[in-house]
Amino acid sequence: MKRRFTLLALVLVAILPAGAARAASIGVEAFGGVSIPIVQDDTDQGSQFGVRVPVNLIPLLTVEPYFGASALGNKSVTLGAVTYERDGGDVTAFGLNARLGGFSGPGLKVFPYVGIGSHTLKREGTADLTKAGYNFGLGIGFSPLPKLSAGLRGEFNMIPLGNETSRKFANVTLGVSYNVLSLP
């Protein structure tokens, strides 16, 4: 896990231009949407909510500490004449995204992003599991009012479990962010 964080840090360092200090912006974004399990027979689609704190220090890069929580849907399986239901489980995550471009300002923005985080999977009858997870996706955002932005994101989220298996999710979220601080 340490190696993976180091890898991400190296990528971030590589894309930071030297002497890039300029105007800084800090925002707060609330988001919500759906989390769709990919090739998982034992859990179903659920909801996802969370908060991101976009920090834009250089023109081409915004970093986003985030917290997200998913409540996955229960899975029903019919065996003979009886239908059984399994708790879909919850996933909580906190981590850091790096996205191209700023998050505030006028106009339509399309931005790819990549992130890494600590994910905890909880499920009734099963011990909690905390693992590093990765995500990448594409967002589209616009600013209808000064300091206010809205955006739609589609992302792929993967949580390796060890033993060469993982839990994978497609997440689609809508978010609204407010620019709380802008420095010249």
Binding site: L7, D42, V82, Y84, E85, P112, V114, L161, G162
Partner: protein, 186 residues
């Protein structure tokens, strides 16, 4: 800007590669009905009473057979069914596992030769209760690892349903199933 995007994409690719072949894995449900008779009747007078083993050959289930060579892990498992305590005292139903087709054993032999997989599932005299999946998942014991090894091995083993201690008890299990969610490469 192009260089920046390439660096980000490279970072994503390197990060994913560092995790191994996890991208192409899946969680696949495998369900195995208890062999006949249905309901399974257990009637034990003492530890010396005979108990029939349920011989399980997962290879007869296509979901398992099709994915056996790609099997990496067990993501979830459950023992399901409707249990009726037909005796006169409260019981805690347990499931024990042996690694072979060990046939009929005494309750004492099951405890000596096998590993406790699951239970106790407590039931008052005369009561019938459906084993819920969530409850079942929480009742697995150390024998779970033996089951995982068997599932990753030849997929053949025997299950024994017995009650507590060496006293007399009787119960029956209707529409019993063993359910596995296997983590497999695709």
């Amino acid at each position: 800007m192009t260089k920046l995007r390439l660096l980000v994409l490279g970072g994503v690719a390197a990060s994913l590669l560092a995790t191994g072949c996890v991208l192409t894995s899946a969680q696949i449900l495998v369900k195995f009905a208890f062999p006949p008779p249905n309901p399974l009747v257990v009637n034990v007078a003492s530890g010396a009473s005979s108990v029939s083993g349920l011989y399980i050959d997962l290879n007869t289930e296509s979901d398992y057979a099709d994915n056996k060579d790609k099997l990496k892990d067990i993501a979830d498992l459950a023992v399901l069914g409707d249990v009726t305590n037909t005796g006169t005292g409260a019981i805690g139903v347990e499931v024990w596992l042996t690694k072979t087709n060990s046939g009929t054993l005494t309750a004492d032999q099951v405890r000596a030769q096998g590993a406790q997989l699951w239970g106790p599932f407590n039931l008052a005299a005369g009561a019938t209760k459906r084993i819920g999946w969530d409850e079942s998942a929480g009742l697995f014991k150390a024998g779970k690892q033996v089951l995982i090894d068997e599932v990753k091995g030849d997929g053949q083993f025997s299950l024994y349903l017995i009650g507590p201690g060496t006293g007399a008890y009787q119960f029956q299990v209707k529409d019993g199933y063993l359910v596995l969610v296997i983590g497999a490469g695709l």
